[in-house]
Symmetry: C2
Subunit: 213 residues, 2 copies
DNA sequence: GCGCGAATTATTCGAGCGTATAATAAGCCG
DNA sequence: CGGCTTATTATACGCTCGAATAATTCGCGC
């Protein structure tokens, strides 16, 4: 008697909705509050459907983790490719990483929730590693191109060291800036990031941070 | 009939045991696996006892969070005060933060688990804020003393900008180095940290990183 | 426009959750 | 050494969990 009416959605659409609902729940209630029932309710379906699209709740969590990380790197890379010079691309990449939507408390919560699981579940470790290496490589590419453009010769090893340092700095500022968002004006954080990176790369003051187009 | 025999412990001792067991469980099973029963079993007691020492499981989690953060800053500060010059103290502080026991996968898991909750529960946010500010202040003090020793005049504002940047760098390297521990030799990470910090502060190459006593 | 495969709902299951309460054993004080 | 306080155990309660299964409704192909 009187069952709920429902809409048959495409597989891609449903999976996306379920993942979005999963992230909503983790952000709102923590990973322990992201239960099958809560997620289903948020997605506007019933709990059983989850097992129709994912072989377990854990697999859905992994898909959700991939989604979060993809969103973060995507935003930064998208900002970078709009730059016309290597310097501009590097600059835009750095700024994007310390500016919304990347610096977002919700995103940080999600990121941390997943990070805390990579020592427990190998699957999460693999996803992390994949994203870390791809981010590092993107940064290294930007740096290499920048140094070529500047006609400054650097060994690949030195380039990698710089990439690791800049990566750490950007990650750290992202953390600091997002967790203590009320302490920094948005603009202030980005400026600090550029000044710090140019110091790290031993550039002239203003070479990256000065207003430019 | 035949109840378990037990030992009546002091309050401090029991609380410590329970907190340690809590951290063990979070590190091993995630925050969702840190249940009252698991924690009690790990501590060698029965579940009911937890409510005798903490008014709720949540309060025990908060105490555990404080413990983790205290352990981290304590290790770095302890290393720093052994230095004889301001330069040495700064150097030791930085190295300690990217060296075991601070760089420890377990510690990072715990840290991340708690970080992911600070947007959900105000109590955790307060604990974070307290520790962040105290860490930043410790770093700022070390930096100020160092610049005085170097006879390099800096405005307080500049000093703070440096502190924020160095803090971010150290946090980021801690993250990177702990999460991708297999990628870095332990010694390599510390060296990279010193080289990066001296660049950040626009010191001469080797001023911090060179071997010294 | 109808029938059939499959997407979705509904219901059930056993396990485990945090908490509350009552019974008991430990160990200090006289 | 015996009684009293209380730290600790034991047990029960009401919920919620993830998963499995059965029942139903949707919507496309013919």
């Amino acid at each position: 008697m009187n069952r709920r009416t429902y809409h048959r959605a495409s597989e891609a659409e449903r999976r996306e909705d379920l993942i979005a609902a999963t992230l909503d729940c983790i952000a709102e209630f923590g990973i322990q509050g992201a239960t099958v029932r809560q997620i289903a309710m948020r997605a506007g379906v019933t709990g059983g459907l989850i097992r129709h699209y994912f072989s377990s709740k854990d697999q859905m969590l992994q898909a959700a983790y991939r989604k979060v990380m993809a969103g973060m790197t995507e935003a930064a890379v998208a900002a970078a490719i709009e730059g016309e010079t290597a310097r501009s691309r590097l600059r835009r990449f750095i700024v994007a990483n310390v500016t919304p939507p990347v610096t977002d408390p919700r995103t940080l919560s999600l990121w941390a929730a997943f990070i805390s699981h990579i020592q427990i579940d190998q699957s999460f470790a693999a996803i992390h590693r994949e994203n870390y290496l791809s981010f590092l490589e993107a940064l290294e590419t930007l740096l290499t191109a920048f140094f070529v453009e500047e006609k400054r010769a650097l060994s690949p090893a030195q380039c990698r060291t710089y990439a690791i340092g800049v990566n750490a700095l950007v990650d750290g500022l992202w953390l600091e800036g997002t967790l203590a968002a009320d302490t920094f004006a948005e603009h202030e954080l980005a400026e600090n990031a550029l000044i710090s990176v140019e110091a790290l790369l031993r550039l002239q003051p203003g070479e990256l941070s000065a207003e430019q187009r």
